[in-house]
Amino acid sequence: MTRDVAGIGLGLRYDLATELLERRPKSVAWLEIHPENYIDRGGRYQEMLELAREDWPVVTHGLSTCLGSVEPFDASYLKELGGFLKDLEVPWHSEHLCLGGADDRFFHDLLPLPFTEEAAQIASQRLTEVRDAIGVPLALENASYYAPQGPDGLAEADFVVEVLEKADAKLLLDVNNVYVNGRNFGFDPKAYMDRIPMERVVQIHVAGHFVRDDGLRIDTHGEPVPDDVYELLDYTLRKTGPVPVLLERDNNVPPLDELLSEVDDLWKIYRNATGADVAR
């Protein structure tokens, strides 16, 4: 049976797993994992996932099936992914709206798609292809990017909406990515949110980012969530209603208590903005 994914979740990462799985804090309502880190892998990762599932529902967030791929995806991997997701009983799976490789090679990073009709067409096709293959609802995630891809920053919102509508898809709305892009490309993140069809949002990401000396913001998931991102989350949750929110922390992982105090802050915003009274 699928367990409810609601309220505030945390990304299950190797660096924080030991403490998280020992203490099992009640304030963390669910966990997110990257399937590529667990598929066909034993050892500590297998153990982490088994221990995590004793208490928490799990949602998956892919790294390698980036939806802007020019070439169709590897069918055998999609089959393997589908089987993995079925075993985990995930309510949905998500992948990034970006480019992750070319010619069967992988960048291991999220490279930007130009905001063109062609890219929207390809991404919506790929999205449908993946969704059909895995047999689980699929959400796309808006990405952060550093090199201009359209006439202005807000063109990204129109691009995201176009793909969502073409594929009739769900959205994993990354609030930090919108904020980072807004600062890097000089647009109002709230204006971006106003263009998003909020009924499609199934999950939200928040994270911190790194500000370089030259002012460029890099989406490192390696810093605490800044106040501006909390504020944008509040603005967004008032539009979406009680959509589950995940705190992403992948690098520079602090002691668990520091992350839990961010989780507490997120609960306050979540309850305030949505009026929801979700408990684990």
Binding site: E36, N37, I39, D40, R41, G42, G43, R44, Q46, E47, L63, S64, G68, V70, Y77, L99, G101, A102, D103, D104, R105, F106, F107, H108, D109, L111, L113, P114, T116, E118, A119, I122, Y146, A147, P148, L216, I218
Partner: protein
């Protein structure tokens, strides 16, 4: 065209030197150099963790050069970040064999094998207890490594390693670490036969003993029992496959 963009990104991120034409096609030279740096740093980091001792043995410069040359051949073929170091090692070890001290290739081979054992798939589930008349079931990722230099001995001596042929079994222990266990040539052949799992234990023992001109005496059987008991206790040998009835 998106396909042209994707290929230009690939060349900008992985090529020895990003071309002016590609940077112009993508726009914003400075920002695409940021991407080049981000992409290469992530891959170099995971490779540096997997091959930490090799990196410090040959120095940062030679190590980075090998990564640069490998990246220039395209980019990783694997979607799994944990397999990236293996792809680099496949490319770089033959180069290091020619350019570095004679033991460096062994060290890199040992480190990458240990990394692969640690990240190996889940263990298979045996359908029966270990028995001489059934095919054995080994833990996932168990490797037998034949080395000319004892590079498993840490720390790496300042003067490097002197030749000392060594056979190791690498396996993942209960705490998920890779452990090296020394083997004699006969035990190594036995373990490899068990890993192939196409013969019963009794058949593989007879074949390997014959190949080593070893008589199956009480002393041989005692040593064999010790090897089996030790392998079970370490979690190398998990059990057997019940023969089809």
């Amino acid at each position: 065209m998106l396909a042209d963009h994707a290929k230009a990104m690939q060349r900008v991120c992985f090529g020895a030197e990003p071309s002016k034409a590609d940077l112009e096609l993508l726009g914003s030279r400075e920002r695409w150099l940021v991407y080049r740096d981000l992409v290469r740093t992530r891959l170099s980091n995971v490779i540096g963790v997997a091959l930490a001792r090799t990196k410090s043995a040959i120095g940062d410069e030679a190590f980075s050069r090998a990564i640069d040359e490998w990246l220039a051949t395209g980019s990783p073929r694997t979607r799994y970040l944990r397999y990236v170091p293996s792809e680099l090692a496949e490319f770089a070890i033959p180069i290091w064999q020619r350019t570095e001290a004679p033991w460096v290739a062994d060290l890199a081979g040992y480190e990458i094998a240990a990394w692969e054992v640690r990240h190996a798939p889940r263990n298979p589930t045996p359908s029966a207890e270990f028995a001489f008349d059934s095919k054995p079931v080994l833990a996932a990722g168990v490797k037998v490594l034949r080395l000319a230099y004892p590079v498993q001995n840490e720390p790496t001596p300042n003067t490097g390693y002197a030749p000392d042929p060594t056979i190791l079994c690498l396996y993942r222990d209960k705490n998920h670490r890779t452990i090296p266990r020394k083997l004699n040539p006969l035990a190594a052949d036995l373990l490899e036969a068990w890993r192939a799992a196409d013969q019963t234990v009794a058949e593989s023992v007879q074949q390997v003993a014959a190949a080593h001109h070893a008589q199956i005496t009480p002393v041989f059987i005692e040593k064999l029992s010790t090897l089996i008991a030790d392998s079970i206790q370490r979690g190398i040998l998990l059990g057997g496959h019940s023969p089809p009835s």
